[in-house]
Structure formats: structure tokens, C-alpha cells
Subunit: 345 residues, 2 copies
Amino acid sequence: MIEHPRRPTLVDVAEHAKVSLATVDRVFNRRPGVSARTVERVERALAKLGYRPDPAAVRLARGIHFNFCFVLPTGSNSFMSELAKQVEQSIAWLQDQNVTGELIRVDVFDPQVLAEALRGLVGRCHGVAVVALDHPVVRDAVDELVRSGIHVVTLVSDIPGSKRHRFIGIDNSAAGRTAATLMGRFIGPRTGKIGLIAGSLILRDHAERLFGFQQVIGSEFLALAPLPPLQGHDSARQCRLLAEKLLRDHKDLVGIYSIGAGNRGIADALVELGRAHDVVFIGHELTEFSRRYLIQGIMDAVINQDPGHEARSASRVLLAQCSGQQMIVDQERIRIDIFLRDNLP
Amino acid sequence: MIEHPRRPTLVDVAEHAKVSLATVDRVFNRRPGVSARTVERVERALAKLGYRPDPAAVRLARGIHFNFCFVLPTGSNSFMSELAKQVEQSIAWLQDQNVTGELIRVDVFDPQVLAEALRGLVGRCHGVAVVALDHPVVRDAVDELVRSGIHVVTLVSDIPGSKRHRFIGIDNSAAGRTAATLMGRFIGPRTGKIGLIAGSLILRDHAERLFGFQQVIGSEFLALAPLPPLQGHDSARQCRLLAEKLLRDHKDLVGIYSIGAGNRGIADALVELGRAHDVVFIGHELTEFSRRYLIQGIMDAVINQDPGHEARSASRVLLAQCSGQQMIVDQERIRIDIFLRDNLP
DNA sequence: CTGAAAGCGCTTACAG
DNA sequence: CTGAAAGCGCTTACAG
């Protein structure tokens, strides 16, 4: 095997600059107490040799250890369960980087409870990833965490006005627009009504999807008339009742956009009333159910955010933040996935 | 900050088992020369304390260093340029993991040249990622690399019959099926012909996309008639001429599927002949051009594989292979992305 | 302002 | 078969 040139170490730089290891370390890490002359000499050597520190050695020597908390909603729609599972896997990976991780589940629909839980984290960890609720009380709690020196990222659902360092999730109005374009083009030249079933319009992500959807339908598919949005509270049972009513009340219903969870109820209603194949049904999040509906042709498209990617991204971003490294921006951008029957993973 | 329990080190295990560090190391790493009694005692301690090695310390102590080669085609369609750029970035990341990386560009369309280049790598590196050409001569070269102990992954374009350890890329027949479903549904109830322009059907990925596309059109969109596939050699100029001829010869052309590169030529032809908005145009790879065509409504959908993801994945997979670690399977699955105007990154 | 030395968690010759 | 010691590349008190 051909020998490749060894990368320069601090020792190499020290020899080159004719100073001690400690001094090179001081200069490289911008610690005080070095004469201007020495600083200059060392910096020249650093540049000349193209020194780059070995991150593993740095971590080891510094004895760095962090603790991260992942705050997820209680309750168990398929998406959140999958996210929790992926967070657990990320925590295992983090252990190898010498960071402990903890998964906490909180009733995220109750702002007070969520805020209280967040406040309880002060002094208990270095980084927090939270599936947030955009409410003043929660925003305050997030800001308090940040002020106390904790690195905070919002996960899946953002609080744009807060001091959180980063949002890890998708642009939900773009996701809504994407759903609308697919809906409009799949329906084609037909005319008719579109049913809209959200979980709760108090949730920022649902509201944004709705907004994006209506924007595109309203400007580009004028033959389609969206009905007023219904709220099924991410419950399959409630969604089923709503979908049944939609189908019965509107004989000219040509599409259903499911903005939140509860796709199962909608699929059941479509099948039961024999409308599975003439109503275009688009929803969010790839789960074992939506996957099956795509294959069966009950759903026509699924807009997805990858929970594995989101969990890993949260971990990487917090780690980069806490250890002052920079992240690979491209890698941390969460895609708005479109899945058809044909490109399922 | 609350103290979190320190993870156990080898020293902890040694104390617990009342043996030396070296012995614990021998047992943990299954090195020979330890009595059965001692092995058992140490293993109990290992298990009791739940010992997991610190990968950074291991790497440092072992003085591990690898060299990887990335073999990409010469020539410069936008996708390959972007892939090259992303590979360069991966190489920078690899440096921090103490691996040197080298980007080599070879005329990948010439099997002999590519095979020769690959053979030249024996003894010069520990891992190879290659944009492959499915040809017996190349397969042989890949197999020879593998036999010589080098870890090989194919990138973007696979050689299924070879001994390569892994393929990092998309399922191209699924990508073709995805294009077909979008084409069929976007065209809707209209009837007509579909133009097919590939780069070269000698390329496995192009052939597979074509196959998948025809499969779906032939079974589900019987009102659409795909024309015989044309070969534009990934050249914008040639593709433009082919597209112009298609549009002139077939007044009932309702769609164009661009299987390879050269979208620019097709877009120009569509615009020039005033057919940009009634012909459904679907192609591959998100570039500065295809992105613009989506926004302008000239292209209707772009099927994409993320070159950044592919470059990083190749690096991670090779590193895991070479250092005997296991990879995160989910993370290394390359998605078949669908981009519309609305979900562009 | 500068340097010698110990230490982070693991591995590797070398002795015994 | 087992252990003491040096070393990987860096950081951190501690002396001077």
C-alpha cells in the first residue's frame, strides 16, 4: 500500500515554529497570554503546514460530554411513534459521541404543560430538541431555555418568533402547495369540490399546509372548489365520520386532502362508500397504513417528511452547536418527499 | 448542571474483573492467549458494566488511516459536476476522520479505459467508489479490486453481477415507473404519443428507467403510445434536434420523457415550437436548468437522486466497511425524489 | 509569556 | 497466559 503523507500534528507545528506544544495550542485556540511575535510565528507555521486538528483527539482530551433532551408529544399516531423510534436510535448513536440523550414525552397540545416541562430542563441538559407548539407561553419557555445557555432546536413543528437556534422540519406551506398541485393535476379537467380534513387548525403546521393548499387551488385550479376545512383531531374515528359526511353531502366531491393524521378513517370511508378510485386522496406522512393505501390505489400521493432524517439531523445539529463545529448545511435540509406507489422506499 | 453517570471505560472493567487493562482489551477484541477462566470473568464484567468502547479513542490509539478513491466520469453534464463537487466536500469531511480521499475522472463510457483505471488502484487505496459501467471488462476489474482486499461501492450506476459490496444509488426501474405514473396522470384523459429521449441505452440506468416507464404506460395508460426511444448522448444539442423532430413528426405528441441528461435541448425545442405548456415534460436530475424549467412550467416534474446524499453515503459506507463498524441502514437508502415547482429545495 | 508533564480511553509491543 | 509502560493527538493545570 502506497504511503500517503501524514497530516501535520500540533507537534509538527511546534517544531516548525520552535515553540512548545502548549504555545501552539494557545495560538490555535486563541487563548490569551502569548506575545504578538510568537503568535505571528506560530500562525505562519500553522498556515504553512495547513494544520487541521483531529476532532477525535480534541474531544478525547477535553473530556467533552453533553446531555440532550428530546421532547415529543404523548399520544401515538404512527408518525410520532416512528419519530420516537428514530430518536431512540439517534440516542444510541449519540452515546458513541459521548453524549447522553433522553426522550421525554409531554402532552404537547397543552401549552402550559409543555412550557412547564421545558422550564424543568434548565440546568439539566446542554441541548433540547422539541416538537413545539406555537403559543406565547411555550415561546417564553423556549426563550428562557436559550437564555440559560441551552441550545434549542424545534423539531417538526416550529415557533418562528422564538429564539430557537434552528428549525428541523419542512416548510409546511410549501408542502400544502405541493399537495395542491398534485391534486389539481391528478383531477385533471374534471370540476368539483375538495374536502379538507385537518387535525387541528391551532397547530401551526396544519394551518400552514392549509394555507399553501388553498393558495394554489385558488389561483391555478379554478374549476375546483375547496370546502371549509374540518377538524378531525388526528383521530381515525373522527376523520372517518367527517369523510363519510363529506361524501354524502357532496356528490361532486372529486378530492380529499388530509392535512393531519387520521388517514385510516378517510380511507375506510372511501372504500365503504365505493369512492376509493374516483376521489383523489392525498395526505401526509408515510406510515404502514398510507403505504398500503398507495399500493391499493386508495391514496394517490403521500407528502412526507422523513422522521429518521429529522431525528438524526436534530442530533447532529445540537452536537455541532454544543461543540462549536459547523454543520453540513445541505445534509440538514429536510426534504418535502412525494411518494407515489412507484417510488416507495 | 446535573451530573450524568460516566460511561464505563476499559479501566473500570479491568478493576471490576481484577485483571489488567491489556487483558480486558484482549478479551473484548477477541484476541488469543487468554485463559478460559479469565475470559469468562472479564466477559461478565464487560456485560455487567455494559461496556461500549469509545470509537474516537479506538481510532486514535490504532492510528487508523485509510485512503479512498472516487472514480467519476469525465465530461461535465450538470449532474456529474454537482456529484464531483459533493464528492470534494465529502473528502474534506473524511480528512477529519483521518482518511485521505482522491477524486479521479475517467472516460467511463469506454469499458477498457475504466477497467484499466480501476486495476491501477490495486494497492493504492483501501476503498473505492465508482460510477460504474455494466460491462464484463469493468465487472472483472471491480471483482479484482475486491479480491485484492479493497472495499468497493458502485455509485449512481451499478454492476449487479459484480462483487461490489454495495450499490449507492436509486432503483432506476422504479424511477422510470414513477416518471410514467406522473406522466400518465398529468396527461389525464387525453390520448396521444409520448417521446422518449435517452442518453444511451448501453447505460444500465437509462435502460432500466426506460423499462420501468414502458411497463407502467403499457399496463395502466393504454391511451398513451410511447414512441421508440431515441438516443441523444446526453448532449443538449442532439437532444434539441431529436425533440424538434418528434414535435414535427407527431402532431399528437402529448408528453416527452427525458431519460438522461440534455434536458436543456428539449426545453429549447418545446419553447421554440410553442409546445412548452401542452406537452408534459418529465426528466431526471435537479440542476440549475431543470429547476428553472420547473418554475417556468416547461418541465412538469423532475425525478431526482441527491448527489450530496450519494457522495456522503459512499464515504460513510466505505468508512464503516473499512473500520468494521456497522452503518445506519435507513440513512444510506437513496430516495427517488420527485420535485414539482412547489417542493423545490 | 512559555514550557514540561500528566491525562483523556484505548492499543501495542515488550517483558516476564 | 498476564501485566507494566509507552504512545495516538490534543488539552490542561502547574511551574517558572
